[in-house]
C-alpha cells in the first residue's frame, strides 16, 4: 500500500515537474513551416532594432500591461478574413497599421498613409505611403503591400467578411494602381464615408502572403501563429485560448511617437465574467474589457480602479419578420413598439449605462439627431388604438387579439442561449404586450441553430428575434432593408419599400454631410414609420482599468485606440 501511494506521489510530482519545463512555450514554437521560417527573421531584426533604438531614459518607459476579455481572437491579425471586433482592434492599433485612422472628431488623419488626395471627380483616391515603416522582419512596407491587401479583400475567393465595404469600389486588380513604390491609387464610385474602410483595414505583408492561394487565406497560420506586422507592437507569443503576448516595437517611426512606452502587452482570455472581475479586483489584470453593467459598481467602489464609459457602436433590437401575416402591417409593428416600455427595460437591463434607440443611428455618429423625430414613447392606449385600426380585436375574449379571419396575434420572439439581456427583453415584452392583447412566446435557441433559422433565405423560421448589431463609422443599412437584398441572409425583416430603397441608395453615395443629413432625417423618419425593427438601446461600452495605467483613451473608435501611448505609473512598477 505504502508502495502504491509513494509511486502515485512520485508520478504526480514528475508530471508537474515536467510540465513546468515545457507547457507555456506552446505557441512560440509553432510547428508550421511557414512560421518556422518567419519567426527567426523577426527575431533577428528586432534584436538589431533594439540596438539601434535604445529605450529613452524617461520614467514612462517600461512595464507590462495585462488585459483580460472573454474571447480569444479567432483570426488574429489576418485582416483579410477576420470579422471579430477584437481582431479588428488589434489589426488597427496593435500589430498592423491602417492607412488612416480617425481623430476624436471622426475625421480621417494620417497613419500609414502620410498624405492622400481625392480626385476632383471623386473617382479615385491616391495614398502616399510613409517611407519609414518596416515590417517586423525588416522588410520595407510599401505600396505593393497596400495593393496586395486591397486585391485580396476584394477577391471573392478570399471571402472577406465585410464585403459591403467595397460596394462602390472597383474591385480586384482593376481597382488599384501602383504608381510607384510609395504611391498607390484606388478607383471607386463616389459615395459616402468612402474613407472608412481604410480606417479599419490592416495592411498585410505582400512578401509573406502574396503567394498564398486566396481561398487558403482563411486557414493560413499567419493570423494566429506568427503574424508579422508593422505596428507599434510585435507579436511574441500566442497560447491558444489562453493569451497573446506582444512586445514594444523599437523600430516604430519616431514621427508617429516611436517605440511605445510599454515593454509588453499581454492579452488574456478569461471566458467567465465573474472571474474577470475578480482578476481585476485582485490586480492580476490591469484592464477588463466590457464588464457587465451590474459589475460596474464594484469597479467604481474600488479605489485602485477606474470605470471608463463611452457610447458604443452597437445596438440591440427585436427584428420582425414581416413575411408573417401577423407582422405584415406596419401599424402592428409600431403598436408593438409603443406597447413596450422600452425606457423602463433599458434602465433595468443596463442600469443606466445606455440609451433608448429609435433607429439604427448610434449616438457616436454625426447623423444622430433623436430630437428631430418621433420618440415612440410608451403608450399602451395608443398601441391598442393602432391595433384596433389595423383590424385586430379580441373577438373571443381570451385576452389575445384576432384578425377578421381568425388568426391570433400570437408571436414567438427568439433569442440565443447564454445571453441574459436578450432573454430579459423577450420576457419583459411578453408581460407588457399581454396588456395590449398581443401574445408573445419567448423561445430560446442555441446560437448556431438560431443563425441558421434566421439567415437561411428559404427558411426564415421566426416571428421576432432579439439581435445585436455592430456598425462602423460608415453606416449602411442596405443589407438589412434594401429590397434587392431581400433574399440575402441579413434581410430578416423582409422589408420591401420603394422609398426606403431609394433613400438607402442615395445615402450610400452622398458624400456631402449637409446633404446627407437631410436624407438621414428622412430615412430615419421612414424607418420609424415602417418599424421593421423595434430598436431597443445603444449600450454604453464599459471598461475597467487599473489606475496605474495612464494615458488611456477609449471611445467609439475602440478600446485599444491609443495603446501605444499607454504607460504605467512608475511607482507601481
Amino acid at each position: 500500500m505504502k508502495e502504491l501511494f509513494k509511486k502515485g506521489l512520485i508520478g504526480l510530482g514528475a508530471v508537474l515537474g515536467l510540465s513546468s519545463c515545457g507547457g507555456s512555450d506552446a505557441g512560440i514554437g509553432s510547428n508550421d513551416p511557414f512560421c518556422q521560417q518567419v519567426i527567426p527573421a523577426v527575431e533577428t531584426f528586432m534584436a538589431e532594432a533594439r540596438e539601434a533604438h535604445p529605450i529613452p531614459d524617461e520614467p514612462r518607459y517600461g512595464g507590462t500591461v495585462v488585459l483580460g476579455t472573454i474571447g480569444d481572437m479567432p483570426d488574429g491579425l489576418n485582416s483579410a478574413v477576420s470579422s471579430n471586433y477584437t481582431d479588428a482592434q488589434h489589426q488597427q492599433f496593435v500589430g498592423l497599421m491602417t492607412l488612416i485612422n480617425y481623430d476624436a472628431g471622426g475625421e480621417p488623419r494620417a497613419y500609414l498613409a502620410e498624405d492622400w488626395e481625392v480626385a476632383p471627380d471623386g473617382r479615385a483616391v491616391t495614398f502616399h505611403i510613409r517611407q519609414d515603416v518596416r515590417w517586423h522582419d525588416g522588410e520595407q512596407t510599401d505600396a505593393h503591400d497596400v495593393a496586395f491587401t486591397y486585391e485580396a479583400v476584394t477577391d471573392p475567393l478570399t471571402a472577406f467578411p465585410n464585403a459591403a465595404f467595397w460596394d462602390h469600389y472597383v474591385k480586384g486588380p482593376d481597382g488599384v494602381e501602383v504608381v510607384d513604390d510609395f504611391t498607390i491609387r484606388i478607383l471607386l464610385e463616389p459615395h459616402a464615408d468612402f474613407m472608412d474602410p481604410f480606417r479599419t483595414l490592416g495592411i498585410l505583408p505582400e512578401h509573406l502572403l502574396g503567394d498564398v492561394p486566396r481561398d487558403q487565406l482563411k486557414l493560413h497560420p499567419y493570423g494566429t501563429q506568427c503574424p508579422v506586422g508593422n505596428g507599434p507592437f510585435v507579436f511574441a507569443q500566442h497560447v491558444p485560448q489562453d493569451r497573446w503576448v506582444f512586445e514594444a516595437n523599437p523600430a516604430f517611426p519616431e514621427a508617429l511617437g516611436g517605440r511605445p512606452f510599454l515593454d509588453r502587452y499581454v492579452y488574456r482570455v478569461i471566458p467567465e465574467q465573474t472571474t474577470l472581475l475578480t482578476e481585476l479586483l485582485i490586480e492580476n489584470i490591469d484592464v477588463y474589457i466590457a464588464p457587465r453593467p451590474d459589475q460596474a459598481q464594484q469597479i467604481i467602489d474600488n479605489q485602485n480602479l477606474e470605470l471608463l464609459n463611452f457610447s458604443g457602436r452597437s445596438y440591440v433590437f427585436v427584428g420582425w419578420n414581416a413575411r408573417k401575416p401577423q407582422l405584415a402591417d406596419p401599424r402592428v409593428r409600431r403598436a408593438i413598439t409603443i406597447g413596450t416600455n422600452r425606457a423602463e427595460i433599458v434602465e433595468a437591463i443596463l442600469q443606466g449605462y445606455g440609451q433608448v434607440a429609435n433607429t439604427g443611428v448610434p449616438p457616436f455618429h454625426w447623423a444622430y439627431d433623436p430630437g428631430s423625430m418621433p420618440s415612440l414613447a410608451y403608450d399602451p392606449d395608443g398601441a391598442r388604438a393602432l391595433l384596433e385600426e389595423a383590424g385586430w380585436q379580441d373577438r373571443d375574449g381570451d385576452g389575445v387579439r384576432e384578425s377578421e379571419d381568425g388568426t391570433r396575434l400570437s408571436l414567438s420572439i427568439k433569442y440565443n442561449t447564454g445571453n441574459q439581456q436578450r432573454q430579459d427583453i423577450a420576457e419583459i415584452m411578453q408581460q407588457q404586450l399581454s396588456a395590449v392583447g398581443v401574445e408573445v412566446q419567448p423561445q430560446v435557441v442555441e446560437w448556431g441553430t438560431l443563425l441558421q433559422q434566421i439567415n437561411t433565405p428559404d427558411l426564415r423560421d421566426f416571428d421576432g428575434v432579439v439581435m445585436g448589431w455592430v456598425v462602423e463609422f460608415k453606416l449602411d443599412d442596405i443589407d438589412l432593408f434594401h429590397s434587392e437584398r431581400i433574399n440575402q441572409p441579413y434581410a430578416w425583416s423582409g422589408t420591401d419599400n420603394g422609398d426606403i430603397d431609394r433613400l438607402l441608395e442615395e445615402l450610400s453615395i452622398t458624400a456631402d454631410r449637409t446633404e446627407a443629413m437631410a436624407l438621414w432625417r428622412e430615412y430615419q423618419e421612414l424607418l420609424i414609420e415602417e418599424q421593421p425593427y423595434t430598436y431597443f438601446y445603444f449600450p454604453d461600452r464599459l471598461e475597467g482599468v487599473n489606475r496605474r495605467v495612464k494615458g488611456v483613451e477609449m471611445d467609439a473608435r475602440g478600446e485599444w485606440l491609443n495603446i501605444k501611448d499607454w504607460y504605467l505609473d512608475p511607482a507601481s512598477r
Binding site: K218, R268, G448, Q453
Partner: protein, 328 residues
Amino acid sequence: MTRYIIRRLLSAIPLVLGIATIVFFAVNLAPGDPTLYFLSPGMTQDVIEQMRINFGLDQPVHVRYLRWLGAMLTGDFGHSISHSRPVLEVLVDFLPNTLILSACALFVAFLFGIIIGTIQAVRQYSIMDSAMSVVLLFFYSMPSFWLALMLILTLSLFARNVWDLPIWFPASGIVSVDYDFLTFGEKVRDRVMHLVLPTLSLALVLTAGIARYMRGSMLEVIRQDYVRTAKAKGLSEAVVVFKHALRNALIPVITLVGLYIPVLFSGTIFIETIFAWPGMGRTIYDAIFIRDYPLVMAGTFFFASMVVVANLIADVLYAVIDPRIRYE
C-alpha cells in the same frame, strides 16, 4: 495479465469507433454549420458556398463520414476550422492541461476521500464522524461551478482584498503572466498555485462520494475476523487500520475510478471556463457550438478512448490490490 490487457484494448477499438460514429452523425446532422459564424454584411451566397467547399462541407454526410474514417485510421485528424491548425496540434496543446487537472483532481479526491472515510469508520458515531458527514454532504450537494466561484471569492478575492491573508490564490490561468521569467523552482510553485483552486473545485464534489463509499466499505471490513486477528497479533491501531483493513476496504472503492473519469471530464468544461484553463473540455464545448466538426470528432474520440483506458486501469488495479483476482 499482459494478454488480458491487450485483449481489453483490442476489444475497446470497436467500442470507441462506435462512439465516434454516433457523435459524428449527431453533430453533423444538427442544424447549422461553421459558415454561419463567418457570416457578415454583404456576404453573398456564393461566398458562403465557397467557404463550404473550403471546409469540405459540400459533400453529403455519409461521404464525409467515410472520408473522416479513412483519414483517421491513417492518423490524419483533419484541420480545425475554428483554430486554423491541424486538429492534432490543437489536441496536443490542450489535452495535457486537461489531463493534469483531471489527474490532480482525481488524486486529491481519492486521497481525501479515502482518509476521511477511514477516519469516519474508525471513529463511527463520534462527533468527528457526524461533523464530517455534514461537511461532506454540503460539498456533495454543491454544483462544481458554484463551488469554483465560491473558492475564487474566498481564497482569491477576499483573501487578498478583504482579509489581507499572506497567501492568496490566483483566480485563473495555468501560469502567471511573467511565467517565462521565473526560475525553475518558482515555475513549479506558480503551476501549483494555479492548480489549487481548479483542482479543489473538481475534487471536493467527488471527495464526498468517495468518503461515503469508503466509510461504508471500511465499516464492513473492520468487523471482519482478520482485523480481529491483526489486533490479536499485537499490532498498533494504525497498522491494523491502514495496512490490514484499508487495502481490503479499497477494493470496492476502486470501481469509482472507472466511474468518475467521465464525470471528471464533463465537470472540467465548467471549471476550465471559470478558471480560464485552456483545456480540452472547453475546446470541445466551443467546437460543438461553432460546428468545428473535425475538432469535435477528434476530441470525442480521445475522450472515449480515455474513458476506456480508465476503466481498464480500474480493472488492473483490482488485480493489483486483491490477489484473489487473477485474469487469464
